[in-house]
């Protein structure tokens, strides 16, 4: 007879979140499979066939693990996500907004000079690396998974992306796009494409790289014990 407990344990261990299923759950599911297997033998099935039928009760083990965890710890999992993703992420976004306003003001007043925009931008990126480190460090301290730490660190970049995206709904910009479609000779759209590309690279891609670079030292390390149980990913 197959070792059902070992088998269930192994199937759950394949889950990518790295969270272990509780031994009590593993044992209970193993007993179910054992009962199912024995019922198959009683019906005259060969051992191999009975085992195959028992295993067919679960097609997707990682999905089952997620459903069981949600059923047992649904509330805790949500609260864990708030603590390890949303709170550090929102704090990092607020910090980024404050830093951006401060750097912009300083660049246009105190530090005004010919190369100021370049230095101000470089300094802003360096500060963003610090913000990324802060968010990922907070998430790790709260027991966040690597995905949540990255998510928290990249939160400000997502906010900038959303803000830039809202520009597309800007009526003036829309008119330029519409006008370019109806007047192909007048290629005004090409005039603003480099501006858009520049905004995407300078406003989203490079800040995201800086945030991620700051977060890198905080991506190592294991989850806290309590979070292993809840299995937040």
């Amino acid at each position: 007879m197959p070792d059902w407990q070992k088998l269930v344990h192994e199937r759950f261990a394949q889950e990518r979140s790295g969270a272990e299923m509780e031994p009590e759950v593993t044992e209970e599911l193993a007993h179910y499979l054992e009962d199912f297997y024995e019922a198959g033998l009683d019906k005259g099935l060969a051992e191999h066939e009975a085992a195959q039928r028992a295993l067919a009760e679960v097609r997707n083990w990682p999905r089952l693990a997620r459903k069981i965890k949600f059923a047992r710890y649904g509330g805790e999992m949500l609260s864990q996500r708030i603590q390890t993703l949303w709170m550090p992420g929102v704090a990092a976004a607020i910090l980024t907004a404050a830093v951006s306003v401060s750097v912009n003001r300083a660049a246009s007043t105190v530090l005004a000079g010919p190369h100021t925009p370049m230095f101000a931008y470089g300094g802003w990126l360096l500060i963003l690396a610090g913000v990324g480190a802060f968010a990922a460090g907070w998430s790790r301290l709260a027991g966040g998974s690597i995905t949540n730490r990255i998510g928290a660190a990249l939160f400000p970049a997502a906010m900038i992306f959303a803000a830039l995206g809202s520009l597309v709904t800007n009526p003036d910009l829309k008119m330029v796009v519409i006008a370019s479609v109806f007047s192909p000779g007048d290629v005004r759209i090409w005039g603003i494409l480099p501006v858009i590309a520049n905004s995407v690279v300078g406003g989203i891609v490079l800040p995201a790289v800086a945030l991620l670079a700051g977060a890198l030292p905080f991506l190592g390390g294991k989850l806290a014990e309590g979070n292993l149980r809840a299995g937040t990913a």
């Binding site: 209970e28 007993h31 199912f36 679960v58 997707n60 059923a71 047992r72």
Partner: protein, 111 residues
């Protein structure tokens, strides 16, 4: 799609609570009892049964308890709690009403 999913979930919860209202059963027995009584129309697999059992247990509608049977075999038996029994009565009325409504619709369509 949403309605179908809600009906499935609702009927599955109702089926589990109904069989546990009569006797204490462990997981495999619950699945078998439901399959037998519905002539195979409602069939639980391990993957569909246990998330629901744990969700019902978390809501304190059912309670599980390990017990060692003859031959030293351990099984986790579930029983309906007083809170679960209170849920079952209105559920029965709702399902009765739902099926009567469906039958009326079906009858009207056939006529």
């Amino acid at each position: 799609m949403m309605v179908v999913s809600k009906i499935k979930r609702g009927s599955a919860e109702f089926a589990i609570l109904s069989v546990l209202a009569e006797e204490r059963l462990y997981g495999y027995q619950i699945a078998q009892t439901i399959a037998d009584r519905t002539a195979g129309e409602l069939r639980f697999t391990l993957a569909s049964l246990y998330p629901m059992l744990y969700a019902l247990e978390k809501r304190a509608w059912i309670a599980g308890e390990w017990e060692t049977r003859r031959g030293g075999r351990k099984r986790r038996y579930y029983r309906l709690t007083p809170a679960g029994r209170r849920q079952l009565a209105p559920m029965r009325r709702q399902w009765d009403g739902f099926f009567r409504a469906i039958q009326r619709l079906s009858g009207a369509a056939d006529a």
